[in-house]
Structure formats: C-alpha cells, structure tokens
C-alpha cells in the first residue's frame, strides 16, 4: 500500500513536514555534495564535520544536509550555515573544528574563511549578499541548496508534488496544456520550440504515447542539466508527471549520460521513493492515473541528444538520426507519439502550474519567457551556474555576476550554444540573451553554455576545436556532414600549423554553406556556425595565421615563440625555477634569457611571470 493514497494524505504530510521544520533543530549546515564540489573533496569535509559534531556532543542539535550544486562550483566545497546563511567557500576538513566551535556553537564568524569578493576585495558574510548570487533570479535552481536530493520529504516540504496534485484533481489535461501554452515556456534544450504546442500535438496523435526527458547534455561546457538532476531530481520527475497527465501517457523515460553517475544514482533513488510514496506507478494519489518512469543510460555520443537519434538509442540501437518527414510527436519511440523535452524544461513545469502562467510570463522578454540557467565558464572570475531572467545582457552576466576576466586580461569573445553556436565579440555585449537576440548576430542561446574567452584564446584554434569535436561526433551517414566537416577541419588544421593558403577563408565559407544546406540533422546543419562566426568577427586572426604565419594569442605552437622582454624582466627567477627544460637562465635581479632551442612552448613561464615580461612573438 502506498504511503500517500490520496490528495489529503499528501497535503497532511506536507503540513506535518513544514511544522516539523519550524520546530526542528536550530542550526542547519548545508554542504554541497554536487559533482563540482565533490571533485574538491566534499566527502572528507563531511566526515570531519560529523566527527567534530560528535566530539562536541552536537549531533542532536545540528542538522547536516548534503545538497546538490549551489552553482558556485569553482569555490567548492561550499558550506552554508543556516539560519543566518553564512557562506564558507573552499572548506577543508581541518577547518571543521573552528567552524563548529565558533559559528555553530557561538554564532561567531571564522574570519579567515569568510568569502572575499575577488572584484571589490570586500569580505562578504552572507550567501545572498554575494554579487554572484545577488543578481540572479533562481526560481528553478534556488531549492538546490536547501534540499537533500536523496530525501523526497525535503522536496515535499518545500511544496513538492502539489503542482502534480493540482493537475490531477483541479485541472483537465486541456487546461494544463492551455496553461503551459499561456506561460510562453519554450524548450531549454536549444531549439526553443514552444512546449505547450508540442504537448498538444502529441496528445492529438493516437497510439501508446511516451514522455521522455533529454538528459544527454552533450554541449561541452554546459552542465545545468547535470546539476538539476543531481540536486533536485524530484522537480524534473514532477514536471514529467504533469506532462504525462496533459499528454495522456503512462510510460516515461529519462535518457541520461553514463558519464553522470551521481545524476543516475540520485534519480534512481528519487524514482524508487516516488513509487514507495504512491507518486509514481498505478493509481497515483488515488486518481486512477497510472504513470512510471524508466532510466536509460546513454553511451557518450553527442548526436544522441538529437530527438530521433535519442529514440533510436532508447530502442537499443546505435543512435543515428533519421529524416523528420514524420515528427516524433506523431511517430517516435517504438512508433508511438513521443514527447521529448529537456531537463530544465521539465523543471519549469511545476513552477508554472503552482504560480500560474501569468506570474511566469511576467518574467523575461516578449518571446522568451521565464529564466534560463547559464553555465558561465572559461576565462571569467566567478565561474558556475547562473540563473537569470531571459533578456539579461551578456555584459551583466559576464561582468556583474561573473566578475569579469581574471588576471587583468582582455575579453575577446563569449561562445554560446556549444558546437552549434558561435563566438560573440565585445561589441555585442549589451545584447539581452534570449532565443531571438543571439541568433541575430550569428550565434544561438542553445542549451545555455557560455564560455568566456580572453586574449590568450586563439579563435582559429577554437573553430578547429569545435570541428574536431564534430568530426568525432558525426554519425557519418550523410556525405555533406561527414566529408564536409572533415575537409573544413583539414583546412583549419593546416592554418593552425602554418600551412594556410590564400583562398582558405573563402573555401571554408563555401564549404560551410554547403554543409548547412544539405545535412540531414541539426548536428550537420549547425556544424559550420563556430567557423563562420569566427571568420565574421575575427577575420584578422585568420589572416595573421595565413599571411604572417603568426598566432597572436600564442596558442598554435608552430606560429609563435616565447621571449623575455629585457625592459620588464625583474630577474625574479620564478620562471627559471619552474621551466621543465631549463631553458631560462640569468643572474638574480638581471634580465633573463630564454633559449629557443630548448623551449617546448609549454607556457609555464608565461603563466608564472607576474610582471608580464614573457611575451608572445
């Protein structure tokens, strides 16, 4: 017998959890156990914290929550002490005794551990005062720091599954679809297709209908889907159940990357809990509605994120796309009408149902509603996941939230939309980011990857990098994509090695247009974008490579060398000590010399010199 057999029992349970929370333990320590923080050692910090609490006899009074990603992964492991919301970044096991003694026992701050804003240099105590968080609007991602993803009770306590109950008992499927349409929600997987219209079309086709979640997240540099599934899996599950109610489906699938083991684990736990509670399976909450969700783990193929390839993969076949004369909403997985949405799209659904379409549609721009989570990474001071209303300018995201470019370097471009997107130069930084604006300058918003590049990034190399990626990932079944990408890559590789010829740029443009027009699936049709936008905005860099045989950014090894500027070198010896080739010599406090014949261009000296005396020539 399921624990929650009807709507009342869910509501009663919710009240019970809420009142338990308000009468609960005084202190709550939220420790991030997401993948990013995990890589910096959350497990050891947790162990040290628990030992310290036991030692001080505080285990009963303090609740410790291992949460999903808080977004500020670069500063991990992250700890927040509630009720105040005191933020401690980069905590280590050896800090635990002081944190417990001072902050947890005596409400005092550990001065040495407080967050120091890298831009203003000010010390900031509370999480919500930190510029990185302060300027965000975290309606989808905000609960991540407050709930333990392995606890269904935590999700129910913050109002979880009430949107599902509302959809089951207060609304007809048509009404649910109308609400989603009215909200203006568009797919977060990259294409931006209106979600309500997709659901409606799927509902109108006959057969066994399927509801599928795309958690393949192939865009390198983007990881919001991973963080949502890891940190708040129930929000995605609840969205899918509401979708199933609206569409009239009883079978759901989550297609998730095998490379995301923690997401798979947390999702598996969440699904089991739902079944135990009666929120999945037969007769959900006594409504008569049946629905369950299976997990399918993908095998590291980018193209499997494409809808028809994903469905082929779900069926147990190699994931090759097919022509979409018939759309998957009509005939998809196992020939049934299949509705595919992205992880973040699903996570938006419960919020829309709870707060209403009008509330939701008030956020964002005319044609792009709600918020979007961006993965702000690369050469930017504050890296992590950032949720802002649609239409927020690139400048605000990169400079106000992101803190600008580290080490006083110069901004060069921001890459959006992953391998299907493009590189946007400085003159467009005031553009508001939504589905339509970025495409006007040749890029796309895509799934939300935002990779910031500075003066040390070579744009020709970036273009080559993406084509190399796409060559590996092309499924190879159509010629323009398979052969065209290979040819473009050959040309770019030649340019990067100093063998570029006059006419190469024009040839790249020609090939690009051909691939865009004649490829079968979205991988091919968008593959030339990174090349075409870098040619458009950074043609001079291509020309420097081809005509002058120079890589101004110092990336393409055959096209530059490092040298020491005798005017600026202070003779501090730092570089000489670190050079693996012993290529740098000189007397202390005198300008040093760099022996080109020994240098392997590893760049260690360039990164080491604090005086910018190592120069690229």
């Amino acid at each position: 017998m399921a624990i929650l057999s009807n709507r009342e029992s869910l509501e009663k349970f919710q009240d019970k959890l809420k009142s338990a929370k308000s009468h609960g333990k005084k202190k709550l320590v939220s420790l991030c156990a997401g993948s990013g923080c995990g890589a910096y050692g959350t497990a050891k910090v947790h162990q040290a914290l628990m030992e310290e609490l036991a030692l001080q006899n505080l285990t009963e009074d303090v609740e410790v929550k291992l949460t999903g990603c808080h977004g500020f992964c670069e500063k991990g492991p992250i700890m927040v002490v509630h009720p105040q919301g005191i933020f401690y970044p980069q905590v280590k096991p050896e800090h635990m005794s002081e944190i417990v003694e001072k902050t947890i026992k005596n409400d005092e701050l550990v001065q040495s551990l407080i967050f120091k804003d890298p831009v203003s240099k000010a010390k900031i105590t509370l999480e919500h005062d930190i510029p990185f968080y302060k300027l965000q609007q975290r309606i989808i991602f905000g609960n991540n720091g407050l709930i333990d993803p392995t606890s269904i009770d935590d999700y129910i306590a913050v109002g979880g599954y009430s949107a599902m109950a509302k959809s089951l008992f207060d609304m007809t499927p048509e009404k649910v679809i109308a609400e989603i349409k009215k909200s203006g929600l568009r797919g977060r997987g990259g294409g931006g297709f209106p979600t309500g219209i997709k659901w409606d079309t799927c509902r109108k086709h006959h057969g066994i209908r399927y509801v599928i979640c795309n958690a393949d997240e192939g865009d390198p540099g983007a990881y919001m889907d991973r963080s949502l599934l890891e940190g708040n899996p129930h929000s995605v599950i609840e969205g899918m159940i509401i979708g199933a109610i609206a569409i009239g489906s009883h079978d759901g699938y989550v297609y998730v990357r095998h490379e995301y083991p923690l997401a798979v684990t947390n999702l598996t736990i969440a699904l089991d809990k739902c079944r135990e509670y009666g929120l999945l399976g037969k007769n959900i909450l006594g409504s008569g509605f049946d629905f369950d969700i299976n997990i399918s783990r993908g095998g590291g193929a980018f193209v499997c994120g494409e809808s028809t390839a994903l469905m082929a993969s779900l069926e147990g076949n190699p994931g090759r796309p097919r022509a979409k004369y018939v759309h998957t909403v009509e005939k998809g997985f196992k020939e049934g009408p299949s509705n595919l949405n992205n992880v973040e799209t699903w996570a938006n659904v419960p919020i829309i149902i709870n707060k209403g379409a009008d509330w939701y549609a008030a956020i964002g721009t005319k044609h792009s509603k709600g918020t979007k989570i961006f993965s702000l990474v690369g050469k930017v001071v504050n890296t992590g996941l950032v949720e802002v209303p649609m239409g927020t300018s690139l400048r605000k995201i990169i400079y106000d939230i992101g803190g600008g470019i580290p080490r006083k370097k110069k901004f060069k471009a921001v890459q959006t939309g992953g391998p299907s997107g493009g590189c946007i130069p400085e003159q467009f930084l005031d553009l508001g980011v939504d589905f339509d604006e970025l495409s006007k300058v040749g890029s796309i918003m895509g799934s939300g990857g935002m990779i910031v590049m500075d003066q040390d990034t070579c744009m020709v190399d970036v273009a080559r990098y993406f084509l190399d990626f796409l060559k590996e990932e092309s499924c190879g079944q159509c010629n323009p994509c398979r052969e065209g990408i290979k040819q473009m890559l050959d040309i770019l590789t030649n340019i990067c090695q100093g063998n570029g010829k006059e006419g190469d740029i024009e040839l790249l443009e020609e090939l690009g247009v051909m691939i865009q027009r004649f490829s079968l699936c979205g991988l091919g049709t968008s593959a030339p974008n990174p090349v075409l936008t870098t040619i458009l905005y950074f043609r001079n860099e291509y020309e420097a490579h081809i005509r002058d045989k120079k890589c101004p950014a110092g990336v393409c090894k055959p096209l530059f060398y490092y040298d020491i500027d005798p005017e600026t070198c202070t003779g501090c010896r730092s570089c000489a000590k670190k050079c693996p080739q012993e290529a740098i010599t000189g007397d202390k406090k005198k300008p040093h010399q760099l022996d080109q014949s020994k240098c392997i261009k590893c760049g260690i000296c360039y990164d080491t010199c604090k005086f910018d005396a190592i120069v690229i020539r």
Partner: protein, 164 residues
C-alpha cells in the same frame, strides 16, 4: 597473448536479469559488464546473443558506436582528461601533454603494466572546476600539470588490489 579472463557467468546473468533480459537495455548491460572488466570481453558476446536474442552484428554496432564501450582490455585505472570547451580554454591540452609524458603512452593507449589507460572525454559536467580529469569514477578538478601528475602518483602508490 592476452591472459584468458575468467568470466563469472553468474555476474553476467545477474546484470541481464536486472534489466529483465530486455534487449533495449543492451547498451546498459554492456556498460555494467565494463564496470567489472573495464571492457566487454569478446567471449561474452555469444552469451549476450543467446540471452537477449539479438544479432551479433547489433552488438558490434552498438559497441563501436558508443564511446563508453570498449572491446579491447583497458587498464585498471581509466584516466580521462576532459577536453570539453571550458577545460580546453583553460589549458586541458597541457594536462593531456603532461599525462602522456608521465604515463609514457598516447591518448587511447594502456600502460604496459596494465595499470592506466589514458583517454580524452568531452565534458563531464564539472566545467567550473576545469581543467578536470577523472580516474574511474573519481573526479579531480582545478588542476595544473603538477597537480595532475600527483593524482597519478597517488594511484601508483595504491596497493594493487585496493580501490580508488
């Protein structure tokens, strides 16, 4: 010659049973087998043909299409260097160089003591902590050359039957 691998048939059948012998789960079944042997030993293929009722060609098709599957034996520790865009612009290439030198193998190869296989992967979703590498299921972030070399040293010192 490869030393013959002892295949524990019961384990294979447990995995297949976990997916109810469902042939749609072929890829996941092969991934789980890989977790035990670090690759899918070709001797298992006839067993899969028999138990799942799929064609041998499909198994090879799936094994070659998906990068998580290898039919060749790999090292005890699979070292994957992320070469996703965020890690790329933060110097993933330098990490890859350092590891190639350190291990004395190229990308895709296994060390002669069968301890390490070096691989490149495209983004493992820890992009804010880049450059990152993974060793089996552990992730290491914020690396430079020296830190990456240290990670390898730690695994070298680990007792051979120990877990990471």
């Amino acid at each position: 010659m490869e030393p013959a691998i002892q295949i524990d048939l019961k384990k294979i059948d447990d995995i297949i049973a976990h997916y109810h012998g469902n042939k749609e789960a072929l890829l996941m079944i092969m991934q789980d087998i890989s977790d035990i042997y670090n690759h899918v030993p070709p001797v298992i293929i006839p067993i899969l043909v028999d138990r799942l009722g799929v064609k041998k060609s499909l198994i090879y098709g799936v094994a070659t299409f998906y990068k998580t599957i290898s039919l060749e034996p790999r090292g005890k520790y699979i070292v994957s260097v992320c070469t996703g865009t965020a890690c790329h612009v933060r110097g993933a290439e330098k990490i890859a160089d350092a590891l190639q030198q350190k291990l004395g193998v190229q990308e895709g190869q296994t060390t002669s003591d069968r301890l390490f296989t070096l691989k490149a992967v495209r983004c493992i979703g820890c992009c804010a902590s880049g450059p990152v590498i993974t060793v089996n299921k552990e992730t290491y972030g914020g690396l430079d050359r020296t830190a990456a070399e240290k990670v390898i040293d730690n695994y070298k010192q680990m007792p051979l039957n120990g877990t990471a």
